[in-house]
Symmetry: C2
Subunit: 263 residues, 2 copies
DNA sequence: CACTAGGGTGTACGTCGTACACTTGTCAAG
DNA sequence: CTTGACAAGTGTACGACGTACACCCTAGTG
Protein backbone atom coordinates (compact mmCIF):
# COMPACT_ATOMS: atom_id res chain seq x y z
CA UNK A 1 0.00 0.00 0.00
CA UNK A 2 1.59 3.24 -0.93
CA UNK A 3 0.44 6.71 -1.58
CA UNK A 4 1.81 10.16 -1.77
CA UNK A 5 4.64 9.61 -4.19
CA UNK A 6 7.29 12.05 -3.05
CA UNK A 7 8.66 12.82 -6.45
CA UNK A 8 12.12 12.03 -7.66
CA UNK A 9 13.93 14.44 -5.44
CA UNK A 10 14.59 12.09 -2.52
CA UNK A 11 11.67 12.29 -0.10
CA UNK A 12 13.54 13.97 2.77
CA UNK A 13 13.53 11.94 5.92
CA UNK A 14 10.59 12.63 8.20
CA UNK A 15 11.02 16.05 9.78
CA UNK A 16 9.47 16.52 13.18
CA UNK A 17 7.55 13.51 14.46
CA UNK A 18 7.12 13.90 18.18
CA UNK A 19 5.44 11.46 20.49
CA UNK A 20 2.94 10.19 17.97
CA UNK A 21 3.76 6.86 16.47
CA UNK A 22 4.66 6.95 12.84
CA UNK A 23 2.53 5.03 10.42
CA UNK A 24 4.90 3.71 7.85
CA UNK A 25 3.32 4.88 4.67
CA UNK A 26 6.37 6.24 2.95
CA UNK A 27 5.71 5.90 -0.70
CA UNK A 28 6.34 2.22 -1.45
CA UNK A 29 7.27 3.25 -4.91
CA UNK A 30 10.37 5.10 -5.78
CA UNK A 31 10.40 4.78 -9.56
CA UNK A 32 13.96 5.87 -10.28
CA UNK A 33 12.98 7.38 -13.57
CA UNK A 34 13.45 5.22 -16.64
CA UNK A 35 10.24 3.16 -16.87
CA UNK A 36 7.86 5.75 -18.30
CA UNK A 37 4.26 4.79 -18.74
CA UNK A 38 4.67 1.21 -17.61
CA UNK A 39 5.49 2.64 -14.22
CA UNK A 40 2.26 4.55 -14.30
CA UNK A 41 0.33 1.45 -15.22
CA UNK A 42 1.89 -0.36 -12.32
CA UNK A 43 0.91 2.46 -10.01
CA UNK A 44 -2.63 2.19 -11.24
CA UNK A 45 -2.65 -1.54 -10.71
CA UNK A 46 -1.42 -1.24 -7.14
CA UNK A 47 -4.87 -0.65 -5.70
CA UNK A 48 -4.89 2.92 -6.88
CA UNK A 49 -8.59 3.61 -6.80
CA UNK A 50 -8.75 7.10 -5.44
CA UNK A 51 -10.12 6.53 -1.94
CA UNK A 52 -13.84 7.01 -2.08
CA UNK A 53 -16.31 6.78 0.75
CA UNK A 54 -17.25 3.40 -0.61
CA UNK A 55 -13.72 2.11 -0.53
CA UNK A 56 -13.31 3.29 3.03
CA UNK A 57 -16.47 1.54 4.07
CA UNK A 58 -15.47 -1.70 2.39
CA UNK A 59 -12.07 -1.82 4.05
CA UNK A 60 -13.62 -0.90 7.39
CA UNK A 61 -16.06 -3.78 7.06
CA UNK A 62 -13.31 -6.17 6.05
CA UNK A 63 -11.20 -5.03 8.95
CA UNK A 64 -14.03 -5.51 11.41
CA UNK A 65 -14.86 -8.90 9.94
CA UNK A 66 -11.50 -10.24 10.83
CA UNK A 67 -10.66 -8.27 13.93
CA UNK A 68 -13.88 -7.41 15.70
CA UNK A 69 -15.26 -3.98 16.46
CA UNK A 70 -12.48 -2.83 18.70
CA UNK A 71 -9.99 -3.23 15.89
CA UNK A 72 -11.49 -0.48 13.80
CA UNK A 73 -10.07 2.94 14.43
CA UNK A 74 -9.69 5.75 11.98
CA UNK A 75 -5.97 5.27 12.16
CA UNK A 76 -6.06 1.54 11.46
CA UNK A 77 -8.37 2.00 8.49
CA UNK A 78 -6.20 4.76 7.09
CA UNK A 79 -3.15 2.58 7.51
CA UNK A 80 -4.85 -0.28 5.72
CA UNK A 81 -5.59 2.07 2.87
CA UNK A 82 -2.06 3.41 2.83
CA UNK A 83 -3.19 6.87 3.63
CA UNK A 84 -2.87 9.36 6.44
CA UNK A 85 -5.69 9.23 9.02
CA UNK A 86 -7.05 12.67 8.29
CA UNK A 87 -7.59 11.76 4.67
CA UNK A 88 -10.64 9.77 5.69
CA UNK A 89 -12.37 12.89 6.90
CA UNK A 90 -12.67 14.14 3.38
CA UNK A 91 -15.14 11.31 2.77
CA UNK A 92 -16.83 10.60 6.09
CA UNK A 93 -17.79 13.20 8.64
CA UNK A 94 -16.52 11.33 11.68
CA UNK A 95 -16.26 7.90 13.20
CA UNK A 96 -19.94 7.65 14.07
CA UNK A 97 -20.93 8.32 10.51
CA UNK A 98 -18.47 5.70 9.41
CA UNK A 99 -20.03 3.16 11.74
CA UNK A 100 -23.43 4.04 10.33
CA UNK A 101 -22.07 3.50 6.87
CA UNK A 102 -20.78 0.11 7.90
CA UNK A 103 -24.11 -1.09 9.19
CA UNK A 104 -25.69 0.14 5.98
CA UNK A 105 -23.34 -2.11 4.05
CA UNK A 106 -24.54 -5.07 6.09
CA UNK A 107 -28.21 -4.12 5.88
CA UNK A 108 -27.73 -3.84 2.15
CA UNK A 109 -26.87 -7.51 2.04
CA UNK A 110 -30.27 -8.58 3.30
CA UNK A 111 -32.45 -10.14 0.60
CA UNK A 112 -35.57 -8.39 -0.54
CA UNK A 113 -38.81 -9.86 0.75
CA UNK A 114 -40.01 -12.82 -1.24
CA UNK A 115 -43.44 -12.58 -2.77
CA UNK A 116 -46.39 -14.85 -3.21
CA UNK A 117 -46.55 -16.47 0.19
CA UNK A 118 -48.31 -15.60 3.41
CA UNK A 119 -46.97 -12.95 5.73
CA UNK A 120 -45.45 -15.44 8.11
CA UNK A 121 -43.31 -17.07 5.49
CA UNK A 122 -42.22 -13.78 4.03
CA UNK A 123 -41.29 -12.51 7.43
CA UNK A 124 -39.52 -15.67 8.42
CA UNK A 125 -37.44 -15.96 5.32
CA UNK A 126 -36.37 -12.38 5.32
CA UNK A 127 -35.41 -12.46 8.97
CA UNK A 128 -33.35 -15.57 8.35
CA UNK A 129 -31.68 -13.74 5.49
CA UNK A 130 -30.90 -10.88 7.81
CA UNK A 131 -29.50 -13.35 10.26
CA UNK A 132 -27.22 -14.79 7.61
CA UNK A 133 -25.92 -11.32 6.87
CA UNK A 134 -25.26 -10.68 10.54
CA UNK A 135 -23.46 -13.98 10.93
CA UNK A 136 -21.22 -12.98 8.08
CA UNK A 137 -20.38 -9.80 10.00
CA UNK A 138 -20.46 -10.70 13.67
CA UNK A 139 -19.59 -7.19 14.80
CA UNK A 140 -22.65 -5.71 13.15
CA UNK A 141 -25.23 -6.51 15.80
CA UNK A 142 -23.14 -4.86 18.47
CA UNK A 143 -22.65 -1.76 16.36
CA UNK A 144 -26.33 -1.67 15.54
CA UNK A 145 -27.26 -1.76 19.19
CA UNK A 146 -24.81 0.87 20.17
CA UNK A 147 -25.90 3.38 17.58
CA UNK A 148 -28.42 5.92 18.83
CA UNK A 149 -30.56 6.83 15.87
CA UNK A 150 -31.05 4.18 13.21
CA UNK A 151 -29.71 4.89 9.75
CA UNK A 152 -32.05 5.51 6.82
CA UNK A 153 -31.31 2.02 5.50
CA UNK A 154 -32.37 0.48 8.79
CA UNK A 155 -35.48 2.63 8.89
CA UNK A 156 -36.32 1.57 5.36
CA UNK A 157 -35.88 -2.06 6.32
CA UNK A 158 -38.16 -1.64 9.28
CA UNK A 159 -40.73 0.12 7.19
CA UNK A 160 -40.67 -2.65 4.67
CA UNK A 161 -41.18 -5.21 7.42
CA UNK A 162 -44.13 -3.23 8.71
CA UNK A 163 -45.45 -3.41 5.19
CA UNK A 164 -45.31 -7.18 5.33
CA UNK A 165 -47.43 -7.14 8.46
CA UNK A 166 -50.13 -4.86 7.11
CA UNK A 167 -50.21 -6.66 3.78
CA UNK A 168 -50.71 -9.82 5.81
CA UNK A 169 -53.85 -8.45 7.39
CA UNK A 170 -52.59 -6.83 10.57
CA UNK A 171 -54.37 -3.73 11.77
CA UNK A 172 -52.08 -0.76 12.06
CA UNK A 173 -51.85 -0.87 15.80
CA UNK A 174 -51.45 -4.62 15.99
CA UNK A 175 -48.62 -4.18 13.52
CA UNK A 176 -47.15 -1.62 15.87
CA UNK A 177 -47.26 -4.01 18.78
CA UNK A 178 -45.88 -6.76 16.59
CA UNK A 179 -42.84 -4.68 15.76
CA UNK A 180 -42.17 -4.20 19.44
CA UNK A 181 -42.57 -7.88 20.11
CA UNK A 182 -40.07 -8.70 17.42
CA UNK A 183 -37.58 -6.23 18.78
CA UNK A 184 -34.12 -6.69 17.40
CA UNK A 185 -35.05 -10.16 16.26
CA UNK A 186 -36.50 -8.59 13.19
CA UNK A 187 -32.96 -7.86 12.14
CA UNK A 188 -31.90 -11.42 12.64
CA UNK A 189 -30.34 -11.39 16.05
CA UNK A 190 -31.28 -11.74 19.65
CA UNK A 191 -28.95 -10.43 22.25
CA UNK A 192 -28.19 -13.38 24.40
CA UNK A 193 -26.42 -12.06 27.52
CA UNK A 194 -25.62 -15.66 28.02
CA UNK A 195 -23.16 -16.68 25.43
CA UNK A 196 -23.06 -20.43 25.68
CA UNK A 197 -21.04 -20.52 22.50
CA UNK A 198 -18.10 -19.54 24.62
CA UNK A 199 -14.52 -19.90 23.52
CA UNK A 200 -14.00 -22.75 25.92
CA UNK A 201 -13.46 -26.34 24.70
CA UNK A 202 -16.94 -27.60 25.58
CA UNK A 203 -15.59 -30.54 27.50
CA UNK A 204 -13.87 -28.13 29.83
CA UNK A 205 -16.95 -25.94 30.07
CA UNK A 206 -19.11 -28.89 31.04
CA UNK A 207 -16.59 -29.77 33.69
CA UNK A 208 -16.71 -26.23 35.01
CA UNK A 209 -20.46 -26.09 35.30
CA UNK A 210 -20.78 -29.44 37.00
CA UNK A 211 -18.26 -28.18 39.52
CA UNK A 212 -20.47 -25.18 40.16
CA UNK A 213 -23.60 -27.27 40.33
CA UNK A 214 -24.30 -26.13 43.87
CA UNK A 215 -24.09 -22.48 42.95
CA UNK A 216 -26.04 -22.70 39.73
CA UNK A 217 -28.08 -25.89 39.94
CA UNK A 218 -30.35 -25.13 37.01
CA UNK A 219 -27.61 -24.26 34.60
CA UNK A 220 -25.93 -27.48 35.59
CA UNK A 221 -29.08 -29.33 34.56
CA UNK A 222 -28.48 -28.15 31.03
CA UNK A 223 -25.19 -29.95 30.63
CA UNK A 224 -26.41 -33.38 29.57
CA UNK A 225 -29.11 -32.07 27.28
CA UNK A 226 -26.99 -29.39 25.71
CA UNK A 227 -24.44 -31.81 24.37
CA UNK A 228 -26.95 -33.74 22.30
CA UNK A 229 -28.56 -31.23 20.04
CA UNK A 230 -30.83 -31.37 17.09
CA UNK A 231 -29.60 -31.98 13.60
CA UNK A 232 -26.64 -34.02 14.63
CA UNK A 233 -23.72 -33.59 16.95
CA UNK A 234 -22.52 -30.08 17.26
CA UNK A 235 -19.23 -28.49 18.07
CA UNK A 236 -18.85 -25.93 20.83
CA UNK A 237 -20.67 -26.23 24.13
CA UNK A 238 -23.43 -27.87 22.25
CA UNK A 239 -26.08 -25.19 21.99
CA UNK A 240 -27.47 -25.07 18.51
CA UNK A 241 -27.85 -21.36 18.00
CA UNK A 242 -29.63 -21.63 14.70
CA UNK A 243 -32.22 -24.00 16.13
CA UNK A 244 -32.77 -21.80 19.14
CA UNK A 245 -33.19 -18.74 16.99
CA UNK A 246 -35.77 -20.37 14.76
CA UNK A 247 -37.54 -21.88 17.72
CA UNK A 248 -37.95 -18.47 19.30
CA UNK A 249 -38.84 -16.87 16.01
CA UNK A 250 -41.57 -19.40 15.29
CA UNK A 251 -43.00 -19.13 18.75
CA UNK A 252 -43.34 -15.41 18.33
CA UNK A 253 -44.69 -15.55 14.80
CA UNK A 254 -47.25 -18.13 15.85
CA UNK A 255 -48.30 -15.95 18.72
CA UNK A 256 -48.73 -13.02 16.39
CA UNK A 257 -50.70 -15.08 13.89
CA UNK A 258 -53.04 -16.14 16.65
CA UNK A 259 -53.61 -12.52 17.58
CA UNK A 260 -54.17 -11.52 13.97
CA UNK A 261 -56.71 -14.29 13.43
CA UNK A 262 -58.64 -13.40 16.57
CA UNK A 263 -59.46 -9.85 15.50
CA UNK B 1 -18.87 19.07 43.67
CA UNK B 2 -16.21 20.61 45.88
CA UNK B 3 -13.63 18.44 47.41
CA UNK B 4 -10.11 18.77 48.50
CA UNK B 5 -10.02 21.78 50.78
CA UNK B 6 -6.61 23.27 50.06
CA UNK B 7 -5.52 23.87 53.64
CA UNK B 8 -3.90 26.98 55.04
CA UNK B 9 -0.25 26.38 54.23
CA UNK B 10 -0.40 27.18 50.54
CA UNK B 11 -0.40 23.82 48.82
CA UNK B 12 2.78 24.24 46.80
CA UNK B 13 2.07 24.90 43.18
CA UNK B 14 2.12 21.80 41.00
CA UNK B 15 5.66 20.92 40.01
CA UNK B 16 6.05 19.31 36.62
CA UNK B 17 2.77 18.77 34.79
CA UNK B 18 3.45 18.29 31.14
CA UNK B 19 0.77 17.82 28.53
CA UNK B 20 -1.62 15.94 30.76
CA UNK B 21 -4.43 18.00 32.18
CA UNK B 22 -4.26 18.47 35.89
CA UNK B 23 -7.04 17.18 38.05
CA UNK B 24 -7.21 19.50 41.00
CA UNK B 25 -6.94 17.14 43.89
CA UNK B 26 -3.96 18.43 45.77
CA UNK B 27 -3.85 16.76 49.15
CA UNK B 28 -7.08 17.85 50.76
CA UNK B 29 -5.59 18.01 54.19
CA UNK B 30 -2.67 19.96 55.40
CA UNK B 31 -3.63 20.50 59.02
CA UNK B 32 -0.92 22.94 60.06
CA UNK B 33 -0.79 21.59 63.59
CA UNK B 34 -2.72 23.58 66.16
CA UNK B 35 -6.34 22.44 65.80
CA UNK B 36 -5.93 18.91 67.05
CA UNK B 37 -8.86 16.59 66.93
CA UNK B 38 -11.50 19.02 65.75
CA UNK B 39 -9.60 19.34 62.49
CA UNK B 40 -9.47 15.62 62.25
CA UNK B 41 -13.19 15.34 62.90
CA UNK B 42 -13.93 17.83 60.19
CA UNK B 43 -11.76 15.94 57.78
CA UNK B 44 -13.56 12.76 58.68
CA UNK B 45 -16.94 14.37 58.22
CA UNK B 46 -16.18 15.63 54.74
CA UNK B 47 -16.98 12.31 53.09
CA UNK B 48 -13.66 10.86 54.08
CA UNK B 49 -14.56 7.22 54.00
CA UNK B 50 -11.39 5.57 52.87
CA UNK B 51 -12.20 4.76 49.27
CA UNK B 52 -13.35 1.21 49.09
CA UNK B 53 -14.36 -0.77 46.05
CA UNK B 54 -17.93 -0.25 47.11
CA UNK B 55 -17.59 3.51 47.28
CA UNK B 56 -16.04 3.55 43.84
CA UNK B 57 -18.87 1.48 42.42
CA UNK B 58 -21.50 3.68 43.99
CA UNK B 59 -20.04 6.90 42.63
CA UNK B 60 -19.58 5.29 39.23
CA UNK B 61 -23.23 4.31 39.17
CA UNK B 62 -24.31 7.75 40.27
CA UNK B 63 -22.13 9.32 37.63
CA UNK B 64 -23.55 7.11 34.91
CA UNK B 65 -27.09 7.73 36.10
CA UNK B 66 -26.79 11.39 35.44
CA UNK B 67 -24.39 11.48 32.53
CA UNK B 68 -24.82 8.28 30.56
CA UNK B 69 -22.23 5.61 29.86
CA UNK B 70 -19.84 7.77 27.94
CA UNK B 71 -19.40 10.03 30.93
CA UNK B 72 -17.74 7.37 33.05
CA UNK B 73 -14.00 7.23 32.76
CA UNK B 74 -11.52 6.24 35.39
CA UNK B 75 -10.35 9.81 35.50
CA UNK B 76 -13.82 11.27 35.98
CA UNK B 77 -14.65 8.85 38.75
CA UNK B 78 -11.37 9.56 40.50
CA UNK B 79 -12.02 13.26 40.22
CA UNK B 80 -15.47 12.85 41.70
CA UNK B 81 -13.92 11.02 44.63
CA UNK B 82 -11.25 13.64 45.09
CA UNK B 83 -8.53 11.19 44.37
CA UNK B 84 -5.90 10.54 41.73
CA UNK B 85 -6.95 8.20 38.89
CA UNK B 86 -4.47 5.48 39.69
CA UNK B 87 -5.84 5.17 43.21
CA UNK B 88 -8.84 3.31 41.82
CA UNK B 89 -6.64 0.50 40.62
CA UNK B 90 -5.94 -0.51 44.17
CA UNK B 91 -9.59 -1.54 44.41
CA UNK B 92 -10.66 -2.59 40.92
CA UNK B 93 -8.48 -4.42 38.45
CA UNK B 94 -9.37 -2.31 35.42
CA UNK B 95 -12.23 -0.55 33.74
CA UNK B 96 -13.92 -3.70 32.52
CA UNK B 97 -14.06 -5.08 36.01
CA UNK B 98 -15.48 -1.80 37.18
CA UNK B 99 -18.23 -1.99 34.58
CA UNK B 100 -18.99 -5.51 35.73
CA UNK B 101 -19.22 -4.23 39.26
CA UNK B 102 -21.64 -1.57 38.16
CA UNK B 103 -24.02 -3.99 36.50
CA UNK B 104 -23.86 -6.10 39.63
CA UNK B 105 -25.06 -3.13 41.61
CA UNK B 106 -28.06 -2.83 39.31
CA UNK B 107 -28.76 -6.55 39.25
CA UNK B 108 -28.65 -6.45 43.02
CA UNK B 109 -31.62 -4.11 42.98
CA UNK B 110 -33.90 -6.66 41.36
CA UNK B 111 -36.46 -8.10 43.75
CA UNK B 112 -36.30 -11.73 44.73
CA UNK B 113 -38.88 -13.96 43.06
CA UNK B 114 -42.23 -13.91 44.76
CA UNK B 115 -43.60 -17.19 45.98
CA UNK B 116 -46.93 -18.91 46.02
CA UNK B 117 -48.14 -18.19 42.51
CA UNK B 118 -47.80 -19.97 39.22
CA UNK B 119 -44.63 -19.77 37.19
CA UNK B 120 -46.02 -17.17 34.81
CA UNK B 121 -46.84 -14.71 37.51
CA UNK B 122 -43.54 -15.20 39.26
CA UNK B 123 -41.68 -14.71 36.02
CA UNK B 124 -43.72 -11.72 35.03
CA UNK B 125 -43.38 -9.88 38.29
CA UNK B 126 -39.69 -10.44 38.59
CA UNK B 127 -39.04 -9.33 35.03
CA UNK B 128 -41.03 -6.20 35.65
CA UNK B 129 -38.96 -5.61 38.75
CA UNK B 130 -35.82 -5.99 36.68
CA UNK B 131 -37.25 -3.56 34.23
CA UNK B 132 -37.83 -1.03 36.97
CA UNK B 133 -34.22 -1.36 38.03
CA UNK B 134 -33.03 -0.83 34.49
CA UNK B 135 -35.21 2.21 34.06
CA UNK B 136 -33.60 3.65 37.16
CA UNK B 137 -30.22 3.15 35.51
CA UNK B 138 -30.72 3.67 31.79
CA UNK B 139 -27.08 3.00 30.97
CA UNK B 140 -27.21 -0.48 32.42
CA UNK B 141 -28.77 -2.30 29.51
CA UNK B 142 -26.16 -0.98 27.13
CA UNK B 143 -23.34 -1.98 29.45
CA UNK B 144 -24.92 -5.36 29.99
CA UNK B 145 -25.04 -5.97 26.26
CA UNK B 146 -21.53 -4.82 25.65
CA UNK B 147 -19.96 -7.02 28.27
CA UNK B 148 -18.59 -10.31 26.96
CA UNK B 149 -18.95 -12.81 29.76
CA UNK B 150 -21.80 -12.24 32.20
CA UNK B 151 -20.91 -11.54 35.81
CA UNK B 152 -21.60 -14.08 38.55
CA UNK B 153 -24.54 -11.98 39.72
CA UNK B 154 -26.10 -12.12 36.26
CA UNK B 155 -25.46 -15.83 36.00
CA UNK B 156 -27.08 -16.34 39.38
CA UNK B 157 -30.09 -14.33 38.24
CA UNK B 158 -30.40 -16.41 35.10
CA UNK B 159 -30.09 -19.59 37.06
CA UNK B 160 -32.80 -18.49 39.41
CA UNK B 161 -35.06 -17.72 36.47
CA UNK B 162 -34.39 -21.14 35.05
CA UNK B 163 -35.42 -22.48 38.41
CA UNK B 164 -38.77 -20.73 38.07
CA UNK B 165 -39.33 -22.48 34.77
CA UNK B 166 -38.53 -25.96 35.99
CA UNK B 167 -40.50 -25.46 39.18
CA UNK B 168 -43.37 -24.47 36.94
CA UNK B 169 -43.31 -27.78 35.18
CA UNK B 170 -41.02 -27.17 32.22
CA UNK B 171 -38.85 -30.00 31.05
CA UNK B 172 -35.19 -29.19 31.14
CA UNK B 173 -34.86 -28.73 27.45
CA UNK B 174 -38.06 -26.76 27.07
CA UNK B 175 -36.70 -24.53 29.81
CA UNK B 176 -33.56 -24.17 27.75
CA UNK B 177 -35.50 -23.08 24.71
CA UNK B 178 -37.60 -20.79 26.84
CA UNK B 179 -34.52 -18.97 28.06
CA UNK B 180 -33.47 -18.37 24.48
CA UNK B 181 -36.91 -17.13 23.57
CA UNK B 182 -36.84 -14.66 26.41
CA UNK B 183 -33.42 -13.39 25.44
CA UNK B 184 -32.54 -10.15 27.11
CA UNK B 185 -36.16 -9.57 27.94
CA UNK B 186 -35.62 -11.74 30.96
CA UNK B 187 -33.57 -8.90 32.37
CA UNK B 188 -36.29 -6.39 31.75
CA UNK B 189 -35.31 -4.80 28.52
CA UNK B 190 -35.70 -5.29 24.83
CA UNK B 191 -33.28 -3.57 22.58
CA UNK B 192 -35.42 -1.50 20.33
CA UNK B 193 -33.24 -0.33 17.45
CA UNK B 194 -36.13 1.92 16.81
CA UNK B 195 -36.24 4.46 19.52
CA UNK B 196 -39.56 6.15 19.06
CA UNK B 197 -39.08 7.82 22.40
CA UNK B 198 -36.78 10.20 20.65
CA UNK B 199 -35.70 13.49 22.07
CA UNK B 200 -37.84 15.35 19.60
CA UNK B 201 -40.97 17.27 20.65
CA UNK B 202 -43.48 14.69 19.36
CA UNK B 203 -45.40 17.30 17.42
CA UNK B 204 -42.30 17.96 15.40
CA UNK B 205 -41.58 14.26 15.00
CA UNK B 206 -45.07 13.62 13.65
CA UNK B 207 -44.56 16.44 11.20
CA UNK B 208 -41.30 14.90 10.09
CA UNK B 209 -42.73 11.46 9.48
CA UNK B 210 -45.72 12.71 7.56
CA UNK B 211 -43.31 14.58 5.37
CA UNK B 212 -41.45 11.36 4.70
CA UNK B 213 -44.64 9.43 4.11
CA UNK B 214 -43.61 8.52 0.59
CA UNK B 215 -40.29 7.11 1.73
CA UNK B 216 -41.60 5.25 4.74
CA UNK B 217 -45.33 4.77 4.16
CA UNK B 218 -45.86 2.22 6.90
CA UNK B 219 -44.13 4.19 9.59
CA UNK B 220 -46.24 7.14 8.59
CA UNK B 221 -49.34 5.01 9.20
CA UNK B 222 -48.35 4.85 12.84
CA UNK B 223 -48.63 8.55 13.46
CA UNK B 224 -52.34 8.87 14.17
CA UNK B 225 -52.50 5.74 16.29
CA UNK B 226 -49.35 6.42 18.20
CA UNK B 227 -50.57 9.66 19.67
CA UNK B 228 -53.55 8.10 21.43
CA UNK B 229 -52.14 5.42 23.67
CA UNK B 230 -53.49 3.27 26.42
CA UNK B 231 -53.76 4.42 29.99
CA UNK B 232 -54.34 8.01 29.15
CA UNK B 233 -52.52 10.60 27.10
CA UNK B 234 -48.83 10.18 27.09
CA UNK B 235 -45.93 12.51 26.64
CA UNK B 236 -43.23 11.94 24.07
CA UNK B 237 -43.91 10.65 20.58
CA UNK B 238 -46.78 8.77 22.07
CA UNK B 239 -45.46 5.25 22.20
CA UNK B 240 -46.24 3.73 25.55
CA UNK B 241 -43.09 1.77 26.22
CA UNK B 242 -44.38 0.09 29.33
CA UNK B 243 -47.48 -1.14 27.55
CA UNK B 244 -45.46 -2.42 24.62
CA UNK B 245 -43.07 -4.22 26.89
CA UNK B 246 -45.82 -5.96 28.80
CA UNK B 247 -47.65 -6.77 25.60
CA UNK B 248 -44.62 -8.51 24.17
CA UNK B 249 -43.84 -10.18 27.46
CA UNK B 250 -47.32 -11.59 27.78
CA UNK B 251 -47.37 -12.81 24.23
CA UNK B 252 -44.19 -14.73 24.83
CA UNK B 253 -45.19 -16.08 28.22
CA UNK B 254 -48.52 -17.23 26.79
CA UNK B 255 -46.71 -18.94 23.96
CA UNK B 256 -44.47 -20.72 26.41
CA UNK B 257 -47.38 -21.74 28.59
CA UNK B 258 -49.07 -23.27 25.56
CA UNK B 259 -45.96 -25.29 24.82
CA UNK B 260 -45.63 -26.40 28.41
CA UNK B 261 -49.22 -27.54 28.56
CA UNK B 262 -48.93 -29.50 25.33
CA UNK B 263 -46.20 -31.83 26.53
C1' DC C 1 13.01 0.83 67.01
C1' DA C 2 13.35 -1.00 62.28
C1' DC C 3 10.21 -3.55 58.84
C1' DT C 4 6.77 -4.32 56.13
C1' DA C 5 2.58 -4.00 53.55
C1' DG C 6 -1.02 -1.54 51.55
C1' DG C 7 -3.29 2.53 50.01
C1' DG C 8 -2.61 6.97 47.63
C1' DT C 9 0.49 9.77 44.29
C1' DG C 10 3.17 11.27 40.16
C1' DT C 11 4.85 10.65 35.89
C1' DA C 12 4.87 8.58 31.62
C1' DC C 13 3.51 5.85 27.52
C1' DG C 14 0.74 4.57 23.82
C1' DT C 15 -3.60 5.01 21.82
C1' DC C 16 -7.58 7.35 20.30
C1' DG C 17 -10.72 11.03 17.50
C1' DT C 18 -10.21 15.08 15.17
C1' DA C 19 -9.31 20.48 14.51
C1' DC C 20 -6.63 23.30 11.59
C1' DA C 21 -3.40 24.81 8.41
C1' DC C 22 -0.60 23.25 4.64
C1' DT C 23 0.61 21.31 -0.02
C1' DT C 24 -0.36 19.32 -4.24
C1' DG C 25 -2.73 17.62 -8.46
C1' DT C 26 -6.58 18.85 -11.82
C1' DC C 27 -9.01 21.51 -14.65
C1' DA C 28 -11.69 25.71 -16.40
C1' DA C 29 -11.58 30.55 -17.53
C1' DG C 30 -8.78 34.48 -18.85
C1' DC D 1 0.19 29.59 -21.35
C1' DT D 2 -0.86 31.48 -17.28
C1' DT D 3 -3.87 31.75 -13.38
C1' DG D 4 -6.34 30.67 -9.93
C1' DA D 5 -9.98 28.02 -7.73
C1' DC D 6 -11.26 23.71 -5.87
C1' DA D 7 -10.80 19.19 -4.10
C1' DA D 8 -8.04 15.59 -2.26
C1' DG D 9 -4.32 14.21 0.64
C1' DT D 10 -0.70 15.59 4.38
C1' DG D 11 1.37 17.09 8.82
C1' DT D 12 1.20 18.61 13.23
C1' DA D 13 -1.00 19.29 17.36
C1' DC D 14 -4.37 18.91 21.20
C1' DG D 15 -6.94 16.90 24.70
C1' DA D 16 -8.92 12.93 26.18
C1' DC D 17 -8.38 8.07 27.45
C1' DG D 18 -6.65 3.38 30.09
C1' DT D 19 -3.02 1.98 32.72
C1' DA D 20 2.20 0.40 33.80
C1' DC D 21 5.64 1.51 37.07
C1' DA D 22 8.13 3.62 40.58
C1' DC D 23 7.54 6.44 44.51
C1' DC D 24 5.97 7.85 48.75
C1' DC D 25 3.54 7.85 53.49
C1' DT D 26 1.18 5.95 57.07
C1' DA D 27 -0.37 2.15 60.39
C1' DG D 28 0.54 -1.82 62.43
C1' DT D 29 3.64 -5.45 63.70
C1' DG D 30 7.99 -7.75 65.38
Amino acid sequence: MGHGLPGTSGGRSQPARELETVYVVHSARRLPSGGEMSAKAEVEARSREPLSRDRILRTAVALADEGGVESISMRRIAQELGVVPMALYKHVANKDELLDGMVDVVVGEIDLPIEGTDWKNTMRERILSARRALLRHPWASRVLESRGEPTPAVIAYMDSMMGVFVAGGFSVDLMHHAMHVMGSRILGFSQELFDDTSSMPAEEAAEMWTQMADLYPNIAKLIPVATTTHDGPVVGTGCDDQFEFEFALDLILDGLERLRASR
